[in-house]
Symmetry: C2
Subunit: 191 residues, 2 copies
């Protein structure tokens, strides 16, 4: 039985906070369950029982950090909105902390629910952009199409390729999507 307002919630908040504090103080690699527990004012066994593992705890915290805080900027045109969003996304995810959160979120995730949450965050942001475009009368591609053509390639390269990525790559992907047969034809708005 979940008890969202009670002691459980306080403990969860204390532990998450302890992870965030210690991450910036001693570094992510020096984190241990007993260390986090001491900072949070709980016993290690509490963490082991609730999260099972340091990796799962880090995964939870990482997903929290990957959640976008605001809807994407509105630039008045689909191409600009998507390009800007993709550039920001790529920038965040290629930064060392971004890569670390991404790794943590994926790694300590036995059932894949945290990974699914990350994917849903991106899909929601894209959904907002596409809905705005449709409202303006622009032809907009499907969310899944944007994920296939823009999000996936960036993520693949972040995870699997050692080479660095710049915002030109994000721009290239969005252009390839919107100029292609699946995407929206340009609609009078500037591209």
């Amino acid at each position: 039985m979940a008890r969202p307002g009670g002691r459980s919630a306080r403990v969860q908040e204390a532990v998450h906070g302890a992870v965030r504090e210690l991450e910036s103080e001693v570094g992510r690699d020096a984190l241990t369950v007993p260390l986090v527990a001491a900072r949070a004012g709980v016993t290690p066994s509490t963490i082991y029982r609730r999260w099972g593992d340091l990796r799962e705890l880090l995964s939870d915290v990482a997903v929290e950090r990957l959640r976008p805080e605001a809807p994407p900027d509105d630039h008045g045109a689909l191409a600009a909105d998507l390009t800007t969003w993709a550039e920001q996304f790529l920038d965040e995810m290629t930064s060392p902390p971004g890569r670390a959160y991404l790794r943590d979120a994926l790694l300590g995730d036995p059932d894949g629910s945290n990974a699914g949450r990350c994917s849903a965050y991106a899909a929601d942001q894209i959904d907002v952009i596409l809905a705005r475009a449709t409202e303006r009368g622009e032809r907009a591609p499907d969310v899944e199409t944007v994920i296939d053509h823009v999000v996936s390639p960036m993520m693949y390269r972040i995870l699997f390729r050692p080479s660095p990525l710049d915002s030109d790559y994000a721009h290239h992907l969005v252009a390839g999507l919107l100029d292609g047969p699946v995407g929206a034809a340009s609609d009078g708005t500037d591209a």
Copy 2:
């Protein structure tokens, strides 16, 4: 100084073999360094010194298993080659053991070199397919384009999405690539 033919090589082989045996006997989650060491006939400290961590050892073994054993099939046409390869790739990677190896390979990989090796395996296979197509006189897209449009979307969904994937999705991606503006126009050969 590497000593490829000596004791180091024997130890490495024994440890890798022990991991493979124990994975199928007791399951991947029950593996521990002392267990593997006992089976391999070495002391745990040897493993800790060479690999540093159970995750890095599992990462090494996983990458070995993800290495393709043969060049991709030749069906006489680019579209058929790519579709078949993508279907097989998707099938392997979505299977529970495939997902486990993929996770392990990404997981114990501090510098990203193992992930890069996985990516290189796929790129090499695609390279063979594209070279054959060019040799036949077909117009073929770039390797990076194939990775962006076919490999990345499959990988993204495997890693981030809970929903199952079937071979229709692989077919859809290849078709989107070859019919699009970036890919090869159909060239008289059957698609």
